[in-house]
Symmetry: C2
């Protein structure tokens, strides 16, 4: 379907959309105007050999003996720009992080845009530049794409769906099914900032010092663990649903209980303050640059040290997988009580990513 | 980002969205309700081992010595259901066809949904079932996915972005750059039906016999060519922008002129009639199950015979690549005149795929 859009006409003119300041329906029509949009905006920014081939799909090589990881994410965050990131950096980091959570090194990304008629071409160019930078930061090319335009009032500026391919050694088995009793749970840094940053930007909340999203790639921290010979049983980034949802999902799949300690979970004072005022639980807030690594007990504290060092954060051991055959997640609170942790049951903050 | 959505809770209960008849914002919130949506709708339909692993990405193996093809397409077709297909079959066939156009055998698909609050869960289930059938028809699993929900009036029912991975022998070089002077252009069947079928459904046009979309997978026809030892220099499906746009794109990339013969291009009488009344050019109308194969001259007519047989159509040689070093596409008309062919310059029919 994408012969017109997965196949840009090579990277050329840097002018933004040739004197159109708003997206027109015809930018999605498959004709000259769409070609110019692709050529001048996407191909110019994402320039690489696979895109330049102007074909329906990109061709890639996989190292011998490696398996593939494959993932996708739609992005509908509102507002499009927020402290610490925007929909573009989110769309790249979200997908490379999902690959990293498989222990995979990202090989290539795709990007499909649904634009609303009338969307600012300057904002589009800014978002595309943000994607370019985020992709360059992890050295992964955006090799294929697609563009659609919907009528005014049938979309919301821009939605971006990225898919990613990564590769990993065939013997690496990272996932909930590999989790064992006695494993330690390492959290890669403080939690809750992405959720609060997006909420603040949406609602116009002012802070003395702005709270910025933690949006960041997790490729380097994961590769640092693997390169050091450590073998995490499971990795999970803490996006929609937050730390609580990640832990409950893993406990349910593994069929083992998990116990965590609230005092070990870093939440910045300003984030905690917002949560207290608005009634949010930091454990349910979305993050875009934080993960947990579930490591065999003997690989801690080395694992925590390496993870924190590579992420530029203070990673901490926040709990353990118990040998109790249940899927309960419990937390010892700051006050010494024990509290059951569950997924969100309703909706906390829509369109967070 | 998709730990909550790329990782369904295993295929289980067949009940449609547990007594919700409309999509709620909380179906995208990352909590229990989203999990139920994924479990009961997506995981139940797309059931496979990669999905059941409940991880951030799906793990896949690639045959040794093969390269990957990677492609993506967003789907915003309106209406969602039309004679001969719906957004679900389109989303699967569009992406497997892009892989086939690389000479690649599809390995796996991803599917990312942007749902509008209030969208009918029965319609969603119908679309998902259509995707399941289309994927099963070409024996390709949908291994990973994502779900987002936007507020009423910020989307349009459902948008679906699929991405696909395929594999091909490393020495296969199918693409515009491989096109040579003297090559024959084979068209796989009649053109224009998808465009007219969607237009008719949108505008409520009535015909004595309904015009159905040609929406279909092109995997078998391409594999039949390759299995017979034929080596197409280029393959291209004729979606947005139609046959004209595909030929112009190829001529521009190859830097060679193309000459086609209108009399060899099959357009059904009813489709031609609609075009004449509404002022459409069948060469610009979108197709979803038609392609051109550009073959070395000596591989015709065998190539046309095999292509038509596998596609269940009458494939015909419609023209040749000239040795003129220009990027012009010209057509000899039914009346013997010569006409220059160009891409669409404006917009013919929005949201056709």
């Amino acid at each position: 379907m994408a012969e017109t859009s997965s196949s840009p006409l090579g990277a050329a003119c840097p002018a933004p959309l040739a004197h159109h300041t708003r997206v027109l329906m015809a930018h999605g029509g498959g004709g000259r105007l769409m070609h110019r949009l692709i050529e001048q905006t996407f191909a110019a920014a994402f320039d690489n050999a696979a895109l330049a081939a102007r074909h329906d799909g990109a061709l890639l090589s996989v190292p011998e003996g490696h398996r593939l990881a494959f993932t996708t994410d739609g992005h509908v965050v509102r507002p499009l720009f927020f402290p610490g990131g925007d929909i573009g950096s989110l769309a790249v980091n979200g997908t490379v992080n999902d690959l990293a959570m498989c222990g995979a090194r990202p090989l290539a990304l795709s990007a499909a845009f649904v634009l609303e008629e009338g969307f600012s071409t300057a904002d589009l160019a800014r978002i595309v530049e943000s994607m370019r930078q985020a992709a360059a930061a992890v050295d992964v090319p955006i090799v294929t794409g697609d563009t659609k335009v919907v009528e005014r009032g049938k979309g919301d500026g821009v939605f971006i769906t990225t898919a990613g391919i990564g590769h990993l050694p065939a013997d690496l088995e990272i996932g909930p099914a590999s989790v064992r009793a006695g494993d330690a749970i390492v959290l890669s840094g403080d939690i809750g900032r992405h959720g609060v940053a997006v909420l603040a930007a949406r609602e116009g909340l002012q802070f003395d010092v702005p709270i910025t999203s933690d949006c960041a790639p997790l490729v380097a921290p994961v590769m640092a663990l693997l390169d050091a010979g450590l073998r995490p049983h499971c990795l999970r980034d803490l996006t929609r649903g937050g730390l609580a949802t990640a832990l409950v999902e893993i406990a349910e799949t593994a069929g083992l209980a998990i116990e965590i300690d609230e005092r070990a979970i870093e939440v910045r004072e300003d984030v905690r303050g917002v949560c207290e005022v608005l009634g949010f639980d930091p454990l349910h807030l979305a993050n875009e640059g934080r993960c947990i690594a579930i490591l065999p007990g003997e690989q801690v504290p080395e694992g925590a040290r390496i993870l924190g060092q590579a992420a530029g954060t203070s990673a901490t051991v926040i709990g353990r997988v118990s040998n109790e055959k249940s899927d309960r997640v419990t937390m010892r609170t700051r006050f010494g009580a024990s509290r059951a942790i569950d997924m969100l049951s309703g909706e906390q903050l829509p369109r967070i990513c």
